[in-house]
Structures are given as structure tokens and as C-alpha cells.
Subunit: 340 residues, 2 copies
């Protein structure tokens, strides 16, 4: 047989009807009380021909694609690469496939990906939104496509989300710095309007205020290495340097490191550094960075679970889940309690 075998071929060879073949091959043989002999014959022929069902025909017919899409701001960022990896694996467990879209942190791209991907009759979508707009996401959902936001999300919308408890994470980090005797702390934030950032700033500020510290710096405006670099350079050029820097993401921390290295500022001797996000490479940088580790794996697993409850169980109620972060003490924060 030259062309790819289809159920018609199998029907002709076995002498049964297309329907019967379809039923057997879909595991509905029992249900339709198709005789064992028939089932076996059909299956063996299918095997022999190396029959693979045409997903397009099936999808066209049933209007489902067994496909979900994941849109992340950048696969090159290890934080999102891990998300992609975990989501991909979890989704496979349901027999579904993941299309990965990269928005390169541009809302325009996100929208394009969204419309491009929906032409594939997706069954669901997981998005790490990169902008401050959510209309296009809500619209997708209103069109009947279950959608979950992870990491970045929006409040007061009908969109489900799973993220870290960023407020608590930032609060703990700041509290830890204060406990180590730091009072002059600067934090370098990411995209200002993004919910994780808003929560982190709040957690940071609250921890400072609760400790009776009113003077602190919040600067920066992107979750990028460049932002971390520039802001650190600026902080270092100030009259009085902060004793500790709190970087709001792994990429920002990289930029801090670059700047601190350039200026020959030793960590943690001269300046302490703490950061959001953890990853394996962080253990080998100089020094290993004390960080707030996000439960990325759990976030993804829960997101996928919720997504499939939306898809399969028709449970459309929006769910909002925040998971606690963990402070991982390494070597980049100095105890300065008795240093004056």
C-alpha cells in the first residue's frame, strides 16, 4: 500500500464496515458488543498496516483537538523553560499535546500567537501574560476556550490563575534581610503593572514598615538582565550605597551580578544580594545566591489540573490559587547586625 492506511483500507481488507473498524480502534468494541474475533482481526490488520489515525479528520469531526497551547514570554529564560517542560509533560499524561508559543514579552506577539493558535481548535490554553491587558484573554475564554494564567495574572477578572504567593515571598525575603541587620535596602523590580511585581513590592514595603523602617528604594521596570544591570549601576553611583539589594527575578539578579562585578563590589562583604527565583545554575555563581524559590513544578501541575477540570469536567468556575514560596538561604547575604 502506497498511501497512508486509513480505516477504509482496514474495512476493505477485513470485510467489516468502516463503523465497526472505527469502533474497535477507538476501544469501543466492548460497548458495542463487537465479537472478540472481529476485534482481534481488525486490530491485527491495523497493526500490520501500521495504521495511525488521522488526527485532523478526527478533530474536524468531533471539534476537539486534544491540543492545548502554552504561551510564555521567553523560552530562553530558564524560569519559563522549566514551566514549558513541566506543562508539556503533564499535558502528555492526558494524551494531549502542547503547542508552545513565545511572545518575546510583547503583547502584540501574544495576541498574534493567540489568534494563530486558536485556528488549531485548541481545547485549552495556559498563558503567562506579558502585558497589562487581559481583554484578549477574557475574550478567548468567553468563546468557550478554557484558559488559565500562570505566574502573571489579573485580579477581578473571570480568568483562573495559579501563581506564587508573591506577597509572602517578598515579605519573607525582606524580613530575612532585616533580621540579618540590614536597614538600607533597595529592591529592583520588574514590570510594574504585573501582579507578581505589585505583590512583591507590597510585601517588601510592608516588611520594611512593620520593622519600623520608612526609608527604602524601589526602582527598575523590567524582569530583564539589562534592567538589573542599569539599576545596580545607578544604585552604586549614589552617595550612600544600600547594604542589600533585593532583585525581583533571576534575570534581574544576573544584571546585578554583572554590575557588582564590574564595580568590584564583593558579595556579600560589601553588598548583600537576595533574589526571587532559583535554578540549578544559581548554585554555581559567585556566591550562591540566597533566594526566594517559587514552586514552579507545583504551579504547573495545578494549572494543568485545573485546566483539564475545565476541559473535561466542564467545571468552568474560575479558580485562584497561590502557592507559598520558600526562602533558600545560601551565601549572598551577610549578617551585619554587629558590624557598626
Amino acid at each position: 500500500m502506497q498511501h497512508k492506511p486509513n480505516i477504509v483500507d482496514i474495512a476493505e481488507i477485513t470485510g467489516f464496515s468502516i463503523t465497526t473498524v472505527s469502533r474497535v480502534l477507538n476501544g469501543k468494541g466492548e460497548k458495542y458488543r463487537i465479537s472478540k474475533a472481529t476485534r482481534e482481526k481488525i486490530k491485527s490488520v491495523a497493526d500490520e498496516l501500521k495504521y495511525v489515525p488521522n488526527e485532523f479528520a478526527r478533530n474536524l469531526r468531533i471539534g476537539k483537538s486534544k491540543t492545548i497551547a502554552l504561551i510564555v514570554p521567553s523560552l530562553k529564560n530558564p524560569f519559563f523553560a522549566e514551566i514549558a517542560s513541566v506543562v508539556n509533560n503533564e499535558v502528555r499524561k492526558y494524551g494531549y499535546i502542547t503547542l508552545i508559543g513565545d511572545s518575546d514579552d510583547q503583547v502584540e506577539n501574544e495576541k498574534n500567537e493567540l489568534s494563530h493558535l486558536t485556528s488549531r481548535s485548541l481545547d485549552g490554553m495556559i498563558v503567562v501574560p506579558c502585558g497589562e491587558e487581559w481583554d484578549h484573554l477574557v475574550k478567548v475564554q468567553e468563546n468557550g476556550l478554557p484558559l488559565i494564567c500562570i505566574d502573571r495574572y489579573f485580579e477581578d477578572t473571570s480568568l483562573s490563575y495559579v501563581s506564587s504567593d508573591n506577597y509572602d515571598g517578598a515579605y519573607s525575603a525582606t524580613k530575612y534581610l532585616i533580621e540579618q541587620g540590614h536597614t538600607d535596602i533597595a529592591c529592583i523590580q520588574g514590570v510594574r503593572y504585573s501582579m507578581p511585581n505589585i505583590q512583591r513590592v507590597k510585601g517588601f514595603a510592608d516588611a520594611m514598615k512593620n520593622a519600623g523602617i520608612d526609608a527604602y528604594t524601589v526602582t527598575g521596570d523590567a524582569f530583564t538582565e539589562q534592567n538589573g544591570y542599569l539599576e545596580t549601576k545607578l544604585l552604586l553611583s549614589r552617595g550612600k550605597r544600600p547594604s542589600a539589594i533585593f532583585a525581583f527575578s533571576n534575570m534581574i539578579a544576573m544584571g546585578c551580578l554583572k554590575a557588582l562585578k564590574e564595580e568590584n563590589v564583593r558579595i556579600p562583604e560589601a553588598i548583600s544580594l537576595i533574589t526571587f527565583d532559583d535554578n540549578p545554575y544559581m548554585n554555581y555563581i559567585d556566591p550562591p545566591l540566597t533566594c526566594i524559590s517559587q514552586p514552579v513544578e507545583d504551579i504547573c501541575k495545578i494549572a494543568v489540573k485545573i485546566l483539564f477540570s475545565h476541559i473535561l469536567d466542564d467545571d468552568k468556575k474560575p479558580k485562584h490559587v497561590l502557592l507559598k514560596c520558600m526562602l533558600k538561604v545560601k551565601e549572598s547575604v551577610k549578617n551585619v547586625s554587629y558590624s557598626f
Copy 2:
């Protein structure tokens, strides 16, 4: 309108036939000499309805899916994450979509992904094979699906590949170490049968021999952090420690760093370290690692280009491309020429 609009809806609204609508929406209006007025009307209605073509129907009809698949050993490894990112972006430029599969470095998974993915009527495939088998890959190709290997590949098969010139890369790295006065060099290799590894060992050995050094160590058996860690531990427990270690991948290097740190061996003062692969995080480890950087971006771009020449131009001739690596001197290799 409740359901997703299709060309039938547009035909009804505009009063033209389905055929005409299809032609206009596919940009074949000119070709079929459809009047400008008609074209504009159809387009405006399509816009208004936010019409998105159903890819499944189209794909079913034309037998193409505008989809390619990429299988990598692990998305969590930044080396492969970068590959995924670049391939994904390049493929989008052709209006195609990428399905990403993760083999978790198990040939069994690779085979599963392969058969799972082929049911999606792929138009092409890019694989970073993880085993020493290629039969399943060749078979896929023989079934008419263009397939390219990147990074890891096989010789003497009909499979196209794009990879680094690993021999040359390893040769340069070794030559550099020797120029810096090192003679007692150990290299920690990855998966032994893999082509990059074979070439790297050859490059390493040739460089040593050409320098008149006959004694050297080649040890290890996986491109993993664990392998790097264990082998370094073993090297350090030997009577005479090597003066330099050559790690054959980023992950192996991470393991080396971990072991060296644990044993308080200073780099490069006590032992020099050079590694294959570069990535942004490597600039912040202690010390920045001198490395052989692979042209990942170019490899991916060329692979995609070749893939599409196979897909679109029907040019099925296997192509074999090796790109030169680059030695990036940072701070992990000490010049020991005059140290005895």
C-alpha cells in the same frame, strides 16, 4: 453568531459562493480575477466576523499540516531550551507551528513521541536523538517525512544533520590548555557512542598526541551534572591530580564545579577548567568559565532552512553541515607555563 464563523457563513452573508470566498481568503483573488469589490467585501465581512480558518479542515483537505515537530532530550537543559526557542521562532516565520517533544534522554520516549507526533500528519521533524539507534528515525524519513538531526547525529545514514564541528572545537580547547602549559589533562566525556562525544574525544586525543603528550585521561559517560560531579570526585581522589579538566558539556561542568567547590579546590589556581557550551549564566559563575561556544542559533537556523528545502522544494538530498565552534577565553584556565 454563536458558533465559530466559517466560510459558509461568509458566503451566505456576502452572497458569493464558498469557492469565491475561499479563493479570496487564500489570497488567490488576483489569480482568479475576482473583482476588487468582491474581494474587499469578503475580506471586510471576514474581519468583522473575526473569521479564523479551521486548520484541521484545510489540513485534512490538502494533506499537509503546516506543523513540524522538534524532539529534544530535555527542555530543562538551557542548551536545548535555546534550541527550542530558536527553532520555534524560525519555524513560525514560514507560517508553520512547532510541536515540542521531550524525550527525557530515553530512546523509548523518543520512539513514543515519534509515533505520537506522526499521527498529527507532520510536515517535517527536527530531532536531537538521544540514543545510539537511528532505525526509527530513518523509517520516519522513508515514510516521506523530512527529518533533520541537530547536535547529535549519525554518520553513514541518509539522515541530514546540522551540528558543531566538535572535533575542531575539542582540538582548539585542548590546544589552548596545552599552550597555557598544561600537560596533565583529564577530560570528562558524555554519552560515549554519541557523535559529538566521539568527535570531541578524537579532537582531544589528537591535540594531545600532536603536542607529544601520550598520557591523558578520558572518563565519564553522560552529559549530566551527576556524571561531572562523580568523575571529578574520582579525579580528585587520585594520587596525582590533573592540572586541568576539560568538561564536555555545560551540565558536566556544573558537576565539576560542585565537586571542586566541595573539595575546596580553587579554579583556576589549583585546577583549570574548560568546558563545551556557553550560556548567559556562565558569566556569573565563579570563575567565569573558559569555554567552547557552539553556534546554537546558526545551527538551528540552518536546520530549519534545510528542513524547509526538503518540505517545500522537494529537495530530498541529505545534507550534512558542521559549523565551527568558538573558543571563549574567560577566567577558569591558568597559565602554568613557568610554574615549575
